[in-house]
């Protein structure tokens, strides 16, 4: 192969290789703005409320998961947090969604997060554990609406 052609193809190949890298990085960049599929799925990260009044959990018909988290026992009893698709962090840390002032709660105690239409509770390595109904939570566990979750002296549950 003539020297000139060799040099041109050599540079051309390297340019092509880097072009591929740039194309890949462009996809990465567009993905940065699209965020994860979860947040892009529901605009504003909000699930539209479906029913007007409180009634039994929706079965069949229009899909709707729990809409609020309610503290039913403990120092914060009566507190209500609207569910908007974002995970709820529970613990003594100041940046938790539900800040517990409870000697039996850990700094980052538990997380309640949505997956599909279901909500899952997950213990974040707390010292005293999280209980769904009467069972200790060891991995992500589905939370049916109305089942109490016990963290220290606090009891919370999801309501539709």
């Amino acid at each position: 192969m003539p020297e000139l052609v060799l040099q041109i193809t050599r540079a051309g190949f390297l340019a092509l290789l880097w072009l591929f890298v740039l194309a890949a990085l462009r996809v990465v960049r567009s993905d940065l703005y699209a965020a994860s599929g979860l947040r892009a799925a529901a605009p504003g990260g909000r699930r539209p409320p479906t029913r007007g009044g409180t009634s039994k959990p929706a079965r069949g018909g229009g899909r709707s998961g729990p809409r609020a988290l309610i503290v039913t026992a403990g120092a914060l009893a009566g507190t209500r947090i609207a569910l908007d698709g974002r995970p709820i962090m529970i613990g003594r840390a100041d940046d938790s969604t539900l800040v517990l002032d409870d000697d039996y709660a850990s700094t980052r105690h538990a997380r309640i997060s949505q997956s599909g239409d279901d909500w899952y509770v997950e213990d974040l390595g707390s010292t005293n554990g999280t209980y769904l109904d009467r069972n200790k939570v060891s991995g992500p566990t589905r939370v049916p609406a109305g089942t109490p979750i016990r963290i220290g002296k606090t009891v919370i549950e999801l309501r539709s």
Binding site: M1, L6, Q7, T9, R10, A11, F13, L14, L16, L17, W18, F20, V21, A23, A24, L25, V27, V28, D31, A34, S36, G37, L38, A40, A41, A42, P48, G52, T54, S55, K56, A58, R59, G62, R63, T72, A73, G85, S113, S115, G116, D117, D118, E122, G125, T127, D133, R134, S138, G139, P140, P144, A145, G146, T147, P148, V155, E157, R159, S160
Partner: protein, 549 residues
């Protein structure tokens, strides 16, 4: 409540605000917004095939081979093979990351071309020496690529949800340990290749079980750490701004360290040992966010490696070559110094594909393929390949960040780290940054086990990324809230005061007795009987409810 709410009973004459219709109409639009990006994947795969074909043409031209249309057919065949994998992704993991497969395909393609190029050099040398023509490694590697893609599709097909893997965590760990230990137990005639006992030779084929053990260990550690994470985050001493674990919590780490040391001593392989222990440490760090585990791990690994250096002769050889490769240029240091000369010959832009002499380095198509590539595509080209590896690893990390379940997070982070760490160990070895090891570069090196295992690994990453990127409403049909478990009515009893009309129909005839028995017999908490539930500790709530009925 500014939005006009239009309940079902309301006037049907207002079409714009009727919510349910609105929602169903929105669904295709949402699906389009969360595009699966499979088209991008196909385009990048085609780009990768074009680059591979171009590289092949350059090699043939520079090696004074006959340029025929057959080269283009080879490129098209490669694209067809990748397109099949792409179709499998479309079918089994439609929301998966669009970058992972093309990046792997490009690395694999460039590796194939380089292996073919070294074949040509070996054939030419055999011809000039009058020896018989050596077997073409590239042909076998193409076969391994096909097998690797079969594994890729197989993993996507057989693992519809990565969380099922969590159930087989201990099985995976056990099988991985057996695979890792097997070469050390087998007689050297079956397991030793060039001094390192990391092989199993069955007839003409030889398998490097450590490559598969790598994936199995990541699965094991992910499932183990999800369940036992609190074991590693228990309180300990604060020292130097870090929380150190208590000595008695060090057990699992010491076991992992013992396995890594055993591999180092009995299989004389620093690479596999480093891979294994690196994966353990990083997954522990990801799970606990405690840097103290990494520091303790590095310290005990350093101490163990130092001891191995004192006692194991093969490790001593590797270290002395690392410290001064030119001291024994014609002997032990030959491979590393030839590799360094190869890289120096390539310089910034390389000699051009097919125009260098990469075959002068021993094992130029396996462990030292990076020096072969560095010689022919130079620093500029090698940097592009390293960036591609980085993007591949970061896509796995990105999936780990986006996926919701802890097991998936640990799995994807561990797999991504395994790729990045292996590249570091290989490249660090050939450029003499760390002692040279005998492991292969993912996707690029000649070697069946490595290629097949890495395709399986990439399939798992795609599986996790599919779960991470899938739009929320399509995730699972979701079981309706439906009938509660028998325990539930009781448990609810303590908490139903907030809204009275939400009470579910209780079992007939049980409640009134319940109300009287509740305060009377709180000691019977072990029984399934309604009255004894610990929930009755919450005083007035149960009674409030029963009264409400």
């Amino acid at each position: 409540m500014t939005r006009p709410t239009a309940p079902g009973a309301g006037a049907p004459g207002v079409p714009g605000v009727e919510r349910p219709a609105d929602r169903t109409a929105l669904r295709p639009a949402i699906a389009a917004a969360v595009s699966t990006r499979r088209g991008v994947e196909l385009a990048l795969l085609a780009f990768a095939a074009v680059i591979t074909t171009g590289a092949l043409v350059l090699v043939e031209a520079n090696q004074e081979q006959e340029l025929t249309w057959a080269l283009l057919y080879l490129g098209a065949a490669y694209l067809a093979l990748l397109a099949l994998a792409h179709l499998a992704v479309r079918k089994f993991a439609p929301y998966a990351d669009p970058l992972v497969l093309p990046l792997a395909a490009l690395l694999n393609g460039i590796g194939l071309v380089m292996i073919h190029r070294i074949d040509l050099a070996r054939i030419a040398r055999a011809a000039s020496l009058g020896n018989e023509e050596p077997a073409q490694e590239a042909v076998r590697q193409v076969g391994w690529t096909a097998i690797g893609l079969v594994f890729f599709v197989g993993v996507l097909w057989l693992v519809p949800d990565h969380r099922t893997l969590a159930r087989y965590g201990y099985t995976a760990g056990f099988v991985g340990l057996i695979l890792l230990a097997l070469p050390a137990v087998l007689p050297a005639s079956l397991s030793e290749v060039n001094g390192a006992r990391i092989w199993i030779r069955v007839g003409p084929a030889s398998i490097q079980p450590g490559e598969f053990a790598k994936i199995l260990f990541v699965v094991f550690f992910a499932s183990f750490l999800v369940v036992k994470r609190d074991l590693f985050t228990s309180a300990g001493k604060h020292f130097l701004g870090m929380t150190f674990p208590r000595p008695r919590d060090l057990g699992p780490l010491l076991v992992a360290w013992g396995v890594a040391m055993a591999v180092l001593v009995f299989e004389s392989d620093l690479g596999t040992s480093l891979m294994f222990f690196g994966i353990v440490l990083v997954m522990l760090y990801v799970a606990t966010e405690r840097i103290s585990w990494v520091i303790i791990g590095l310290t005990i690994f350093g101490a163990g490696a130092f001891a191995a250096w004192t006692f194991v002769s093969r490790v001593q050889v590797r270290v002395s070559v690392w410290l001064d490769p030119f001291a024994d240029y014609n002997g032990r240091g030959f491979q590393v110094s030839q590799g360094l000369f190869g890289l120096a010959t390539g310089g910034m832009g390389g000699t051009g594909l097919g125009a260098g002499r990469p075959e002068l380095v021993p094992f130029s198509s396996t462990d030292f393929i990076f020096t072969s590539l560095g010689e022919e595509i130079g620093l500029v080209g090698l940097a592009a390949l390293l960036v591609i590896y980085c993007v591949l690893a970061t896509r796995a990390m990105r999936s780990a960040l986006a996926v919701r379940d802890t097991f998936g997070k640990l799995l994807a982070a561990g797999l991504g780290w395994a790729i990045a760490w292996q590249v570091f160990v290989v490249v660090g070895g050939v450029i003499n940054l760390i002692p040279n090891t005998g492991i292969t570069a993912p996707f690029v090196s000649y070697g069946g086990s490595s290629l097949v295992a890495n395709y399986a690994l990439v399939a798992l990453v795609l599986r996790v990324s599919n779960a991470a990127r899938q739009p929320a409403q399509e995730k699972r049909p979701g079981t309706p809230a439906g009938p509660q478990s028998p325990l539930a009515p009781l448990a609810e009893a303590s908490t139903e005061m907030v809204s009275r009309d939400q009470v579910r129909t209780p079992p007939q005839g049980v409640r009134p007795q319940d109300a009287t028995a509740g305060p009377a017999g709180p000691a019977g908490h072990a029984g399934p009987g309604p009255g004894g539930h610990p929930a009755s500790a919450h005083g007035p709530a149960p009674r409030g409810r029963t009264r409400g009925e």
